[in-house]
């Protein structure tokens, strides 16, 4: 369990390849135990999955806007790869369900969580606390391998007969149990691997933050990013196992014909299920799933909040406002997140007492969330704001997450949720928090830490184009969905609501039929989605081009930041720090009176 270093190795930028020759390519780049390589592995894999998940939903958006029309450009390819489900290049309802379930699964479990927690966390946290690596580097490597293989299994499941999972990312039983495709079982096996990866990762993160903080790095001197990752790791550690149990049980339902989640008297496609015992509970799956599912959404947002906090402090040239409040609030959010889950189950037949309990805890958890957002907002006041690309994303995050968070409140009230549940309002709410919320935070993080990992800056012009176009298109996609949801449009409709449209002759005089405006919004939203895809092109080009052609950094700390991750060589060598590190002050000593510079790094000794 040691970092592989000896004191004679090179630490300059270009030839850190040389000492890798000692242990070979596989152990340097495939089975590396260095947290920075592992972080980059996670990062690349996750970004690829994010792109793939995006393509899935673009195909779905085509079908929603133009139901029944063959998908342009890729329709033929889909038919070639997936057979009958994409007959004549059209998206069949089954294929819509496949893409829908996998879009959600991939974006959450293969995209955002690995990028936000594992990629950024692995790379940055040991640096920020002054450690030479994670406490358990080999377990770190195993963690990445579990993720990669879990992802591979998920990807392969598209190509088996019957297709991939198609019962939603929520995989509710009995549907998930009776769906006649092995893809559902692949999904479960993939989930078990992903959960294992997360559990191993969380043990590592928490142990590292507890045990390997450098001398002088007290808890209240830790950067907020590390606090956020710490709480995220605890959430993953304790919330995932019940879902792992549930996943095993659903797999047993599928493979060994158990009835954990299958009630008695079940009739599927007109046939009574006589061979099973029955006696199970579909609600049991829902409880176990959402026991993870709710804390999971805080896993999605907290690392991004951490990134934003770092970028705001650095680019306002002043300390974060309310550091203590931020820390206590993030701890509170993590803790309360475990007792709010059944607000996803208001319509399952819960009585008034239990509903009220969950409604109350749900309202309570909004308080620390708002405190965090408020502290970040107030941190801007009186700052010397530098409007670089990371900061633009960080600034936009604040109102966007505000919209996402506030629109969650009606969903938290059980009476309002009765109407809004499973409507497009829900889709709009959670995409606002994850897309212009978390993803903006993660984009900001890429632009921010790219120079540390590569020694080069990403191009500012391309970055700003990426930012403005993404901001505009994300709002164009998700804002109308609030109206669609309030008008009663259900989610997961493969024809975009055409069956329920007022214009549909069969719905003459039906109250609540979907209006022209609602149906036509589908088209505008789809166009905006394609626009959003185009908006990512400058980012992808910028990313790869800048690795070799970006403007070289002039020093190890181009952003003039105070935290320890910026006090290393660029890129950091094995062992991260060239000499032993000690910490003398808090993480955000910007613009302090009596200093020559407008920032003082954490590890700079006090002047005599």
């Amino acid at each position: 369990m040691q970092a592989t270093t000896d004191t004679t190795e090179h630490t300059s930028h270009d030839d850190h390849h040389d000492h890798h020759h000692d242990i070979g390519f596989l152990r340097s780049y495939v089975f590396s135990t260095d947290h920075k390589i592992i972080g980059i592995q996670y990062g690349f894999t996750a970004l690829l999955f994010l792109l793939f998940g995006f393509f899935l939903v673009l195909a779905m958006r085509w079908q929603i806007a133009y139901p029944g029309e063959a998908i342009p450009v890729v329709g033929g390819l889909l038919e070639a790869l997936l057979g009958d489900m994409a007959a004549q290049g059209k998206m069949s309802p089954d294929l819509y369900n496949v893409f829908g379930a996998m879009h959600g699964t991939i974006m959450i479990f293969l995209g955002v969580v690995p990028l936000a927690f594992a990629a950024f966390g692995n790379y940055v946290v040991p640096l920020q606390i002054g450690a030479i690596d994670m406490t358990f580097p080999r377990i770190n490597m195993v963690s990445y391998q579990c993720y990669a293989w879990g992802g591979a299994i998920m990807f392969i499941s598209f190509f088996i007969p019957g297709g991939a999972a198609q019962a939603g990312w929520t995989s509710y039983s009995p549907l998930a149990t009776v769906v006649p495709t092995d893809g559902q079982s692949f999904w479960l096996v993939g989930m078990v691997l992903l959960i294992t990866s997360s559990l191993l990762g969380s043990v590592n993160f928490i142990a590292t933050i507890i045990q390997l903080r450098a001398p002088g790095m007290t808890w209240m001197r830790m950067p907020f990013f590390t606090w956020a990752q710490f709480v995220t790791a605890f959430i993953l550690l304790l919330a995932f196992p019940p879902l792992e149990a549930a996943g095993v049980m659903q797999l047993m339902d599928r493979v060994f014909d158990t009835s954990f989640f299958l009630p008695s008297g079940l009739i599927v496609s007109g046939n009574p299920m006589n061979e099973i015992s029955g006696g199970g509970s579909p609600l049991l799956w829902q409880h176990l799933f959402w026991f993870l599912g709710h804390p999971e959404v805080y896993v999605l947002i907290l690392p991004a909040m951490g990134v934003i906090a770092e970028i705001i402090a650095c680019n306002t040239r002043k300390p974060l406002w309310g550091y203590k409040s931020l820390v206590y609030s993030v701890l509170a959010v993590g803790f309360i997140s475990f007792i709010v889950w059944a607000h996803h189950m208001y319509v399952t037949g819960m009585g008034t007492k239990i509903s009220t309990f969950f409604q109350t805890t749900t309202m309570i958890i909004s308080i620390p969330s708002v405190i965090i957002l408020t502290c970040l907002f107030i941190s801007l006041w009186g700052g010397s704001i530098r409007f670089n690309t990371p900061m633009l994303f960080a600034l936009a995050f604040l109102p966007m997450f505000g919209i996402g968070g506030l629109t969650g409140l009606p969903l938290g009230f059980n009476f309002a949720d009765l109407m809004l549940h499973d409507s497009y309002y829900v889709i709009a709410h959670f995409h606002y928090v994850v897309a212009p919320g978390t993803l903006f935070g993660l984009f900001a993080g890429v632009y921010f830490w790219f120079p540390k990992a590569s020694g080069r800056m990403m191009n500012e012009t391309l970055g700003k184009i990426h930012f403005w176009l993404s901001l505009i298109f994300m709002n164009a996609i998700f804002m109308p969905m609030f109206a669609q949801g309030l008008a009663g449009m259900s989610r997961r409709m493969s024809d975009g609501g055409a069956t329920y449209a007022a214009a549909n002759m069969a719905n003459e005089g039906v109250i609540g039929a979907l209006s022209e405006a609602v149906i036509n919004s589908n088209i505008a939203i789809t166009h905006a989605a394609f626009g959003l895809m185009l908006a990512q092109v400058p980012f992808i080009l910028n990313f790869f081009w800048s690795i070799t052609n970006g403007k070289k950094v002039e020093n190890d700390n181009p952003w003039e930041a105070t935290t320890l991750d910026w006090q290393t060589p660029t890129p950091p060598p094995h062992g991260n720090f060239t000499k032993p590190i000690a910490v003398y002050r808090g993480p955000y000593e910007y613009s302090q009176p009596g200093h020559d510079t407008d920032f003082t790094p954490q590890n700079e000794p006090e002047k005599a």
Partner: protein
């Protein structure tokens, strides 16, 4: 280790405790099985007795075998939230089952 708890004297003393707990666990197991033959009016009484005995045995294993009785604060700080969350999982799911909407009941 420069810890008092792991000094040779402390460990030699602890060995007696380990054998004592072993005895307690054996007796506890026998008692558990004997309780099987005792009839209680209500199910909840049976469950309570069974869980009390099991919890006592578990506490002995945890406190003595796993050294929790003189473990560091950090370990408790990891375990307290865990216990709280698992209790929440149990209690809230059972409560949800027993609190259906008015004038409805579960089909079994």
């Amino acid at each position: 280790m420069s810890d008092d708890h792991d000094s040779p004297e402390a460990i030699a003393a602890a060995k007696k405790k380990y054998w004592a707990v072993f005895g307690v666990l054996l007796v506890g197991t026998i008692v558990t099985v004997l309780m099987y033959f005792v009839y209680f009016e209500k199910m909840w009484q049976t469950v309570t007795v069974a869980l009390i005995i099991a919890s006592f045995k578990a506490a002995c294993v945890g406190a003595i075998f796993m050294h929790l009785s003189d473990e560091k604060k950090l370990v408790y700080r990891i375990l307290y939230p865990t216990v709280f969350f698992v209790a929440g999982l149990f209690l809230l799911t059972v409560w949800a089952y027993y609190d259906p909407p008015a004038m409805t009941t579960h089909v079994r």
